[in-house]
């Protein structure tokens, strides 16, 4: 029986797999490969009441919070890595604008452990991290307990199983087998903890390319419900080997989102007024993209899989 392709458009992937009330893992690879295109499509499709999960989500979480699609955030850090605070987060948490958002504060390690527990299929994993902190006191998914094997105190980090993980990768085949490289953050555990995975790829390749380097297949296709070909889908975050970080875009967002009116203008300009990523890229302009493309390729040495 021939395998069935999982390749769909981004619009279709979000429409099919991201529902109101879902918990969604985004930004698993930290500051690189953040699925901005997918996040913007979630906003355009008007999802509501989402719970976002991610360690350091940079400005994507801020944008989703400002757009009113989020009611809860499980994260270690929400803001703007280039500039500091996230103004939409502040408005939501401090003034309930556009709606209240419940923050469940993690540290990076405890969020990673929560997803690892989900990936292993166990209810919790132990750690010393957060002992003595207010994160432990206030986050109900972190519970102190006496070690069953010695006299120590430990923190039980409750497993998280996101409904959907959206992961940006360098290349994938049409069955969802995905190669990624660079730093992984919590992407590998996230892909296994999630009930469904949407892969967004810079490049589509033949299954033979994937099978030529199986160590780089960090997301096997069985875990994947949809694969989307979306070049530049992570802009303004970087994708190793494809494009760099658009630092200026983060600074501009910081300035424009300082006021509610400024953010709403930003949202219209970059999300609502563009039907898809292609239109977004046209708006960004070829000159700007040219400044971000790889100037000097640096290929790894090939690994010999021969026998």
């Amino acid at each position: 029986m021939a395998a069935v392709t999982k390749q769909v458009s981004l619009r279709e992937a979000i429409a099919r797999h991201v529902r109101d009330g879902h918990t969604v893992l985004l930004g698993a690879q930290m500051e690189q490969m953040i699925p901005f295109a997918a996040g913007h499509e979630i906003i355009r499709q008007g999802r509501r009441d989402l719970t976002l999960i991610g360690p350091i989500s940079d400005i994507l979480f801020d944008q989703l919070i400002g757009a009113g699609v989020v009611s809860r955030v499980l994260a270690a850090w929400v803001g703007n890595v280039s500039a500091g605070v996230g103004y939409c987060l502040r408005r939501a948490v401090e003034q309930s604008i556009p709606q209240p958002v419940q923050m469940v504060d993690y540290s990076n390690f405890t969020l990673a452990l929560a997803l690892h527990a989900g990936a292993l299929g166990v209810p919790f994993l132990p750690t010393y991290a957060t002992l003595g902190s207010e994160l432990l006191a206030r986050n109900g998914n972190l519970r102190e307990f006496p070690s069953p094997v010695n006299e120590e105190k430990l923190v039980a980090v409750r497993a998280l199983r996101p409904d959907v993980a959206i992961l940006h990768v360098q290349r994938a085949d049409e069955f969802g087998n995905a190669h990624l490289w660079g730093n992984f953050g919590v992407a590998i555990d996230g892909a296994r903890a999630a009930r469904q995975v949407i892969v967004v790829a810079e490049e589509m390749v033949a299954p033979e390319v994937i099978a030529s380097d199986p160590n780089r297949t960090l997301i096997p296709g069985q875990l994947v419900c949809a694969v989307v070909h979306e070049p530049w889908g992570a802009h303004p975050s970087p994708v190793q080997g494809y494009y760099g970080r658009d630092h200026q875009f983060f600074i501009e967002y910081h300035e424009q989102s300082r006021t509610l009116a400024g953010y709403e203008h930003w949202l219209r300009h970059w999300v609502y007024d563009v039907p898809d990523r292609r239109a977004y890229l046209e708006r960004l302009g070829a000159d700007r993209l040219a400044t971000l493309t790889v100037r000097q390729p640096a290929f790894s040495a090939p690994a010999n899989f021969g026998y």
């Binding site: 930290m30 890595v81 987060l89 902190s133 760099g244």
Partner: protein, 267 residues
């Protein structure tokens, strides 16, 4: 904010340097050769690279996104996941692996920033108070993990009365809690905790009871200025030192790394 001209002879201190450069040099001296260091970004990253290029060439840098680097990145970094930090790295992998090394006790030193630091070195990066208003800040990131698990932590921040406070508004990352054996009582691993707070006015260290004291003042800074800008009655070392200014060799490296003062000019 420039420090005054400084003209002492040995070991060849630079005659003119910025406050940022002084802080980075002070932070670099906290790194010992061969150590495994949680680097962070901005000034701590510069400090780590400076240490590697001067007295600690065998120090290894660890980044929580899942990167180990033994050589400095070839370009200025805005974030630890910028492509120049990944190209030429020794290892790239998952956050959990890096945090595992930290929890095993293998990480010697971690650099941290914060909105507030208190008398016992506790840090807040979650909520700030401005007058009657509560301000939501980005949160812990990896700071709480590093503060719990690294052997030594060093904090860099601007010295203001609203930021060096008697007690943090929100305890994001534990220092010595309320002092004495608080860390042990919480269950935190032995032999961990804050080593220094490097501010824009001086360097604080911690006594055996876990309380901070002023260990050195930066050149041109008076003790009274430090005390007046600290939110509690700060103890002063019996033999108060002056923070050594950057040497000409350190400054040469720093200016090569940050020629326009992009990072060191904004403290």
């Amino acid at each position: 904010m420039s420090a005054p001209a400084h003209t002492e002879a040995a070991p060849q201190p630079a005659s003119r340097y910025s406050l940022g450069e002084l802080m980075v040099a002070a932070a670099a001296r906290e790194v010992r050769d061969g150590e495994l260091v949680f680097v962070g970004m901005r000034l701590p990253l510069l400090a780590f690279v400076l240490a590697k290029r001067t007295h600690a060439p065998r120090a290894v840098g660890l980044f929580e996104n899942g990167v180990i680097r033994e050589t400095p990145a070839p370009e200025l970094l805005y974030t630890m996941a910028d492509p120049p930090n990944l190209q030429g790295a020794t290892w790239c992998g998952s956050m959990l692996e890096v945090m595992g090394l930290l929890q095993q006790g293998r990480v010697d030193l971690g650099f941290l920033g914060a909105a507030e630091v208190d008398r016992f070195g506790n840090l807040n990066s979650t909520w700030a108070r401005r007058g009657q208003q509560n301000i939501r800040l980005p949160g812990s990131g990896g700071a709480c993990d590093i503060a719990c698990l690294a052997r030594r932590t060093v904090v860099l921040l601007k010295h203001e009365k609203t930021r060096l406070v008697e007690r943090v508004t929100y305890l994001t990352s534990p220092g010595y809690g309320t002092g004495n054996d608080w860390r042990r009582a919480q269950g935190l691993p032995a032999g961990t905790g804050p080593a220094a707070v490097i501010t824009t006015l001086g360097v604080l260290r911690f006594g055996a009871d876990g309380e901070a004291f002023l260990d050195s003042v930066h050149p041109g800074v008076r003790v009274e200025d430090v005390l007046a800008n600290t939110g509690w009655t700060l103890r002063v070392a019996e033999q108060l030192k002056q923070t050594p200014p950057p040497t000409t060799a350190e400054l040469a490296v720093l200016r090569e790394l940050d020629p326009n003062g992009f990072w060191t000019g904004v403290v």
